[in-house]
Symmetry: C2
Subunit: 713 residues, 2 copies
């Protein structure tokens, strides 16, 4: 007995030694199978000793290995014997077939997870029509286990509402990530294809766990090189790793590649040689990546080449590439993010003006990819007016997970509410209830093809996203892409349990922090419907005074239009009339300041500083108080987190505390710089109790950040 106790002691020391050396660093994301709730959950169903699968399919094997790992077993070791088991498979598995489960109603990616008794054993069955459904079911089971509580009587069934759930990597071939704040690209193009990386597999696991089924590997500001044979071999090596996890690879295609790679004199999409070049290129791609997803294209946008260079329409361009991909089942995701300095019209209107007339002219395998709002991923925008306005075209919504305009990776801004706000918006396109979600999932207009894209916030940083809380935005994106009507608070709760702790004394305050974080950022950066007030180039920090950039619509002054008398962008009939791009009930609402609501007030209206808001305060006083509220919000995030010390592991707590301190300081900086500037314009005194900015305006103007990460190259 004494001898045994010594062994126990030694084992425990080894365990703690390991634990100490391997403190949590965020690498495991929300797949932290060492967390205590898993063991409790597995115990509640008899601590299954193994995962049983009798199909020889890479995706089934991936699901089995993942479940084995989640059970705390080593997939390479001999399974422990146990009275309970987990059985996984499709109807092609005799074991599954025997159970007579109702699989017919599940879509190709749906799953069913149920506690049953099979051959006298307690069994959790994970079943689906296709292997990828089994994989999603396995992750659903693991996710449920990670929520804490018992798994007894389990009965889950779900399927995704959107077909293409895609991450867009704005990753360059030299590993610089445009708008990336988490290190380099995880795609190590230099070493690929001969040299792999464990990260590729863990990336696939993380994405499969939230239902992401596609990834665009390279930046929309694309180099033609990514379509050369050596780079296709590299992409193929990545595709080989991702395939078992149900994830297809896509590439951003440079529209002028037929010139740069093919030696042609034109990239005119109606030129037969150009069309032939794309066809040959597509055939070449599918030889090395048989399940290649297709192309993402940024054309005639911010300097990129496109069909307009040849007086062809965006539909002509998209359809040329689509024709090359169609025989192989690939799609084109064609971005609607266009605006031109040669067009004097309101930037917010230009994509609508250009794309709406093209509705009905796109090939069957084209999706038009539309940003959530009409400008560019601001802390808050109204939904893009194209949603609801192109019923004959599948519209793919594009969110930005990386926080180009919301404080990079050092500010906590949980984007679930931002995503959900847009998806829940009612376009009125086909009467009340025509939500963006229904446009996007194809149900409103009966589209078979549907998609949601998110600009990834993933990089080589050990924690993938630059902070632990930024992992939540990746998570929420994937879960909302699966179900665009999911509740962002429920997702925050789910993520918090998986990532931080299932202890309610942690979950409750953390979820509360997350849920108010985005509004805090809106308040200290761009309150009351203001937008695009950041400094030049790197988009880091405030620059509302900037008005000297070459293109008018690059200047913050273009957006806020503040002067001695008032502030805001008049988008009513007396201004740009952008409101008319929305369905009539919305156009009427947005035309009326009182009906617009404070959140979007200055987006649609230019108002005098002494305009009275609903609460009775003047616009000027309210603006300043919103900035103050934002700073107070950032400060409370920090203090609420401080109270959680000791309830989560010290390493991740500390990392997060450091970032929240930065956020508070930068919130003050944003507020002070913005207030100093707007006061210089309005000439009005600060409302009572509102503090003078820490420095004068010139000090804020003098701040330069030549080495900020993520800039375009």
């Amino acid at each position: 007995m004494d001898r045994l106790l010594m062994v126990v002691g030694a084992t425990l020391i080894a365990l703690f030694g390991t634990a100490a050396a391997r403190a949590e660093d965020g690498y495991d994301l929300w797949l932290r199978y060492d967390a205590p709730q898993y063991r409790q959950a597995w115990a509640s169903i008899g601590s299954p000793g193994a995962v049983s699968a009798d199909e020889d399919h890479p995706t089934i094997r991936a699901a089995a290995d993942e479940l084995t790992r989640a059970l705390g077993h080593d997939p390479a070791a001999t399974p422990a014997s146990s009275a309970a088991t987990i059985l996984i498979g499709t109807a092609r598995s005799p074991q599954i077939a025997r159970l007579g489960l109702p699989l017919a109603g599940l879509g190709p990616e749906g799953y069913l997870v149920r506690a049953v008794t099979a051959e006298g054993r307690r069994t959790i069955v994970v079943a689906a029509r296709e292997p990828v459904g089994v994989l999603y079911g396995a992750f659903a089971l693991i996710r449920q286990a990670g929520q804490g509580g018992s798994l007894g009587g389990l009965d889950l069934s779900d399927q995704p509402r959107v077909r293409l759930r895609v991450l867009d990597h704005w990753d360059n071939l030299d590993r610089h990530v445009e708008r990336g704040y988490a290190g380099q690209s995880i795609w190590d193009w230099w070493r690929l294809p001969a040299i792999g990386d464990r990260r590729y597999t863990d990336y696939a696991r993380a994405n499969a766990s939230i239902g992401v089924n596609g990834t665009v590997l390279n930046n929309v500001n694309a180099k033609a090189d990514s379509l050369t044979a050596p780079y296709l071999a590299k992409a193929a090596a990545v595709a080989d790793v991702l395939r078992p996890w149900g994830i297809r690879v896509y590439l951003s295609a440079r529209f002028s590649a037929p010139i740069e790679l093919g030696g042609l004199k034109t990239a005119d999409p109606l030129d037969p040689q150009v069309r032939a070049w794309w066809k040959v290129k597509a055939d070449e791609i599918y030889r090395v990546i048989p399940d290649f997803g297709g192309f993402l294209v940024k054309a005639n946008s911010e300097g990129q080449p496109g069909p307009r260079d040849y007086k062809r329409s965006h539909a002509d361009g998209a359809n040329a590439l689509a024709a090359a991909l169609a025989p192989h089942g690939g799609v084109v995701m064609w971005r609607a993010f266009v605006y031109a300095d040669t067009d004097p019209d309101d930037r917010a209107k230009q994509a609508f003006t250009e794309f709406k007339p093209l509705d009905g002219t796109f090939a069957d395998n084209v999706l038009v990819q539309v940003k959530n709002g009409p400008i560019d991923f601001q802390p808050r925008e109204p939904f893009h007016p194209l949603f609801g306005a192109m019923p004959k075209t599948p519209l793919m919504i594009e969110f930005q997970i990386t926080k180009e305009y919301l404080g990079f990776a050092s500010h906590l801004a949980y984007l679930g509410p931002l995503f959900a706000e847009t998806l829940a918006a009612d376009t009125r396109g086909k009467g009340a209830g025509s939500t963006v979600a229904k446009v996007v999932d194809g149900s409103l207009d009966g589209h078979r093809l549907s998609g949601i894209a998110g600009v990834a916030n993933i990089g080589s940083d050990r924690d993938w996203s630059g902070s632990i809380f930024d992992q939540a935005n990746w998570y929420a994106f994937g879960r909302l892409a699966w179900n665009p009507t999911a509740d962002p608070q429920a997702l925050a709760t789910e993520w918090t349990r998986l990532t931080w702790s299932s202890d309610p004394t942690v979950v409750t305050p953390v979820v509360a922090m997350m849920m108010r974080s985005r509004q805090a950022v809106v308040d200290y950066m761009t309150p009351l419907g203001l937008a695009h007030l950041m400094a030049t180039g790197h988009h880091y920090g405030p620059g509302p005074w900037v008005s000297d950039l070459a293109r008018p619509e690059w200047n913050p002054s273009y957006y806020h239009r503040a002067d001695r008398n008032g502030i805001g962008f008049d988008r009513t009939r007396t201004g740009s009339n952008a409101v008319a791009q929305y369905a009539p009930p919305l156009a009427r609402r947005f035309a009326n300041p009182a009906a617009t609501g404070e959140d979007l007030l200055l987006w649609f209206h230019h108002l005098p500083w002494d305009h009275r808001l609903a609460g009775g305060d003047t616009l000027w006083d309210t603006l300043v108080r919103r900035y103050d509220r934002g700073v107070a919000g950032a400060a409370s995030l920090r203090s609420d987190w401080a109270a959680l010390r000791g309830r989560v592991d010290e390493e991740r707590w500390q990392r997060t505390a450091e970032r929240l301190a930065v956020q508070e300081a930068e919130a003050r900086w944003w507020r002070d710089a913005s207030v100093a500037y707007f006061q210089s314009v309005s000439g009005r005194p600060l409302p009572p109790g509102s503090a003078k900015p820490a420095h004068d305006l010139d000090w804020y103007k003098a701040q330069l950040f030549p080495y900020a990460p993520g800039q375009g190259q």
Copy 2:
């Protein structure tokens, strides 16, 4: 009893689960305290339960924590009781003082590690004059434990022979690492100083473990910004982390900073305003980094500003900065790496020509930093002729740990033999035995100040260096900086035991692979004393045909001088007479092809293709056979590694196998391209049995690598 067994079982499952999820990824470098030999070693001295230290000093605490970790304990946990203990401290510790150890003879960084009985307990004592010596002693004890075998009767004592043992990071402020092949800079300048990183501490631990005591944080191609207050605050935050580990921070200084930051019209080192600016700047630096090490300067070299811009000497420039640092105890490390396209003389001669006349004119706190060879970190060069030729000046040798010219991070080339070959070279400066090592450690000329610098191969890659084997070059550099006469094979053996396994069936073949790897690279890249044959800009892959670059000495054709009749650079009296820069006995030897030896033959001589070598073969046939031998060497590295599968952990085995496959393929590429080119020049047939290149010469010339990592910016 049954109940207890169940607990044990659960614990073991948790442990194995952790082990499976946490396969070795190289992050722990040579500090893998989970390796089995440690437990055996600690058992041999009674399995010490704790580390005892009674001095309150950050460095003593660091040493105690590290030992605790190595013992397999959690430093934060209550120490286990045990019959044995480890006692650490300086003579200021009463416990240590009581032992009456012979500490007086140790230098300020020396240590003594001894097995004793103290107060009736088995005790390993780690004692030193200063805390940093205790730290080095702790690591010496750990290193010894990691070698396998018993620690009984332990009696170690050592001290470094060189004072400044420094890593030079060629890291830019945007995190790009010039000549870096392991990801981004580990210095996350953007997030510093508010946001830290566990890596900073682990970097310090690794360096302290091999005796490195200084680090230059930024690229020698320096931006003035690194000397601004915000960036000094960032450097200070790093310095705070490194300080307990005995490591001082240095910065590369841009010579023109007084103009760029100070607004002066000149950076003339004799201008009083310029000198005052540097003094004020130095005072500012020492306020935030009290133990700041000093400046590294690249001046009038490859476009960098310097004193020659004002017709002042390098000594004038170095002394101006040295005067500003002297009151604080800082040093200037002034690089001798100068050459000019305006100077028609042999590039290999120019540094000597410029610096030798300055001997004796440098301030006391200046070291002149000289690359190991006269060109630029080639796979093999003769030692730099300045060694032995500037007796009145402390010469700091500069090695390149990152493998700019030896296959980046994907080729195995253990650099211990390269470093040792230079250090062991006899300059004959003061007669026979005047080795470079004695010049560098100061003993030959009685210098108090001495230093060795290595251009770091460290980046954000999880394994730090881009491959496991490249970690050995960091390790060997540190150990050779501590003792420049250390045997590279012994260091390879030591490193292999710590890094891979202490099992002799692993150690023997791995050390053999390492020891022949560098010669293999020489053979397939630049055999027989050839040099600088790589492609342009990125220095990746062969480019012996390149002859069109603006500066003559940037062209490989400048170096090999191959034509129809022969090959090689005549550096004898009939050529550039670079041999005359060496001491007379060496000058005579290098002037004679038969005495020069094959290794440096074409470095010093231009010879006809049909020149007969000692073995009887012609130069042409021998050249081709050397290329063949290089390819065979790379192939054997790969096959020898294949035989080790299963004897080391699978993850690191696989990572390494992938890289060795790349090396073999690239060795063939180097060989084929070089042979194709030289054959096009010589017009001679390949020797019997030597294979035709896989492609024609034009194919090799057409290879382009626009996205190669590590290029200058």
